[in-house]
């Protein structure tokens, strides 16, 4: 717990100072990683804690981006458009979630995947609203009361905006999981019957966490739209949703810090694959296909070797190290910042 606190503080301070050292191109990566962390933090609540798989978080990311972009282009103040993005995305999630959340396991995964295909198709069809397949161009820059980021420091401004929103997202998750509703969510992941028997309104809770995860994705999507000032259906491929899920699984499900590590590692991996895939002589589809193949491989390896993800594995390694050190008090069960327990190493009695 104390170690987790210091590591968290180090990560917060480090990431806060980092933009001072980065050029614009690197700041862009910084922003994208931060936005991924926000989406994955929401997915972690939905999938990691409440046990509901979604292969369609990219759809909510897209809805947030389109809401922000469309509203801002129609004269709504950009800040209001950004704040409306998660609200409208959550509203869509409620409408979609009502029928879809009756499904479980891979049926739910398929339904959310199908939802993303529908969203992409709608975005491609309604040309007046969304710009169709060519996309939405000329999204105004983010301004607060008419004041925006100075043009030469623009990426820098978005980096800090992203940092603040990421920190807020992680703080909300941290607070939520170790609370009454958080325990209700974690309970229904194992046994809906026992959760109901303890008074947890299972259907309503699933809908709420689905909407909350969608709101996180919608907020990140809104920032994405303003940052790039251009979005199109092609910006939100199915691959993006798979990437979010892989980030969640790699970092560690049901731990607050999992999304941070997962997003950073997978984003870097994606960049490496992109570089390899776009070498001269590579076929046109190489980057995407390389991504799919490697994500598949990463998922298989994680499920085989570290089924709970990297952060929980590191934690139990630390816990067992403490157990072995002579004179060290043996922690029965180290509860992390998210209250997620680390199973104690087997003890012989």
């Amino acid at each position: 717990m104390r170690l987790g606190f210091w590591l968290g503080l180090a990560a917060a301070v480090g990431s806060l100072l980092l933009p001072l050292l980065l050029y614009d191109a690197e700041l862009t990566i910084y922003v994208f990683i931060g936005l991924s962390i926000i989406v994955v933090a929401g997915l972690n609540l939905l999938y990691g804690f409440a046990g509901q798989v979604s292969l369609g978080q990219g759809a909510f990311y897209a809805i947030g981006a389109y809401c922000a972009g469309i509203l801002a282009r129609r004269g709504i103040p950009p800040l209001a458009a950004l704040l409306l993005a998660p609200v409208l995305t959550a509203a869509v999630a409620v409408v979609v979630g009502l029928p879809v959340l009756r499904l479980r396991g891979h049926y739910l995964a398929f339904a959310t995947l199908a939802f993303q295909l529908i969203v992409l198709s709608i975005a491609g069809q309604f040309r007046e609203l969304t710009g169709g397949d060519t996309g939405l161009t000329g999204i105004p820059d983010l301004t607060v009361a008419g004041v925006g980021f100075p043009l030469e420091r623009r990426a820098f401004g978005y980096a800090y905006l992203t940092w603040v929103l990421t920190a807020l997202a992680l703080l909300l998750v941290h607070n939520l999981v170790a609370s009454r509703p958080g325990r209700g969510l974690r309970a229904l992941a194992t046994s809906e019957a026992a959760a109901r028997g303890s008074g947890v309104p299972v259907g309503r809770y699933k809908l709420q966490v689905f909407a909350l995860a969608a709101a996180f994705a919608g907020l990140a999507g809104g920032v994405y739209a303003f940052f790039l000032s251009y979005i199109a259906p092609g910006s939100f491929p199915i691959l993006l949703s798979i990437q979010f899920l892989v980030m969640s699984a790699v970092g560690g499900v049901a731990v607050v810090w999992g999304p941070v590590l997962g997003a950073v590692l997978i984003y870097i991996l994606a960049q490496v694959l992109q570089t390899i895939g776009s070498q001269p002589g590579m076929p046109l589809h190489a980057p995407a296909e390389l991504n799919y193949a490697v994500y598949g491989l990463v998922l298989i390896l994680i499920m085989l070797l570290l089924p709970e993800g990297i952060v929980p594995a590191l934690r139990s390694a630390v816990a067992s190290g403490r157990l072995r050190s002579p004179g060290g008090a043996a922690p029965g069960m180290a509860a992390g910042p998210g209250g997620a327990p680390v199973p104690p190493p087997a003890r012989r009695q």
Binding site: L176, S179, S191, A193, A194, R196, S198, G199, M333, P343
Partner: protein
């Protein structure tokens, strides 16, 4: 198929009411009509004078009905203490928004839930394992965690579905002692159990089911001598022999 038919059973406040019967008698069906897991096609379930047949299970929990399942249902990835804390869900109110922002009643309720859960664990003698992963405990202790989880909700009625099944003698005795204590404190309990001896030692009143019907009811001493009960159990033994 009719699992229970024309069964009328009345659990008085403060009593430990046992329901016994051979396999297939309809005990579990009756149990889940009360928990809300099943809905009756005819008839009504009344709790403190209120018709609850149409209430979903989580609403029944709010009225003060708590459950200990036969197939132990503890929450994976949560400590024993956290499992028990879930039991307080029915009587607390902190919302998503309040919890996420840590405002309003969040901290106060959280403190109260934690101390109630610690008290419930103390009550069932599991304080030493409070920090362990719930699924790592032996079956007897998992059953006790379920009881602690139920107690953390301060129930007005505790439903126990075959709490002794699969337990060794020592564990069975501990659980029996716990129920006897709770009975002495005036907690109303409905105990559905296959093991006749376990029930007759604990219950203040017993209903005997066979093939979906009530074949006898009364205090344990009478039930043990009832010819219809003896015949039902002997009949089953003859069948399985």
């Amino acid at each position: 198929m009719v699992a229970v038919n024309q069964v009328s059973i009345r659990v008085a406040g403060g009593e430990l009411h046992g329901v016994i019967g051979p396999n297939g008698a309809g005990k579990s069906t009756l149990f889940h009509l009360v928990t809300g897991h099943l809905r009756p096609t005819a008839g009504e379930v009344l709790f403190e004078g209120r018709a609850i047949s149409r209430l979903p299970a989580h609403r029944r929990a709010r009225l003060g009905i708590a459950i200990a399942f036969q197939a132990v249902r503890l929450f994976r990835g949560m400590t024993v203490l956290e499992n028990v804390m879930v039991g307080a869900h029915a009587r607390t109110r902190t919302s998503f928004a309040e919890a996420a922002l840590r405002v309003g009643r969040t901290r106060r309720e959280e403190r109260e839930i934690r101390s109630a859960a610690e008290a419930a664990l103390e009550r069932v003698g599991l304080t030493p394992v409070a920090g362990r992963a719930a699924e790592s405990l032996p079956l007897g202790q998992q059953r006790a965690v379920q009881v602690a989880r139920a107690l953390c909700g301060r129930p007005r009625l505790l439903l126990l579905d075959e709490p002794a099944s699969g337990l060794r003698g020592f564990e069975r005795q501990q659980l029996s002692d716990l129920f006897a204590d709770l009975r002495a404190e005036g907690l109303t309990m409905l105990l559905v159990e296959h093991d006749v001896g376990f029930v007759t030692r604990l219950a203040t009143a017993i209903t005997v089911l066979d093939r979906g019907r009530v074949i006898a009811e009364g205090p344990p001493a009478e039930i043990r001598r009832d010819p219809a009960v003896i015949a039902a159990y002997l009949g089953q033994e003859a069948q399985s022999a």
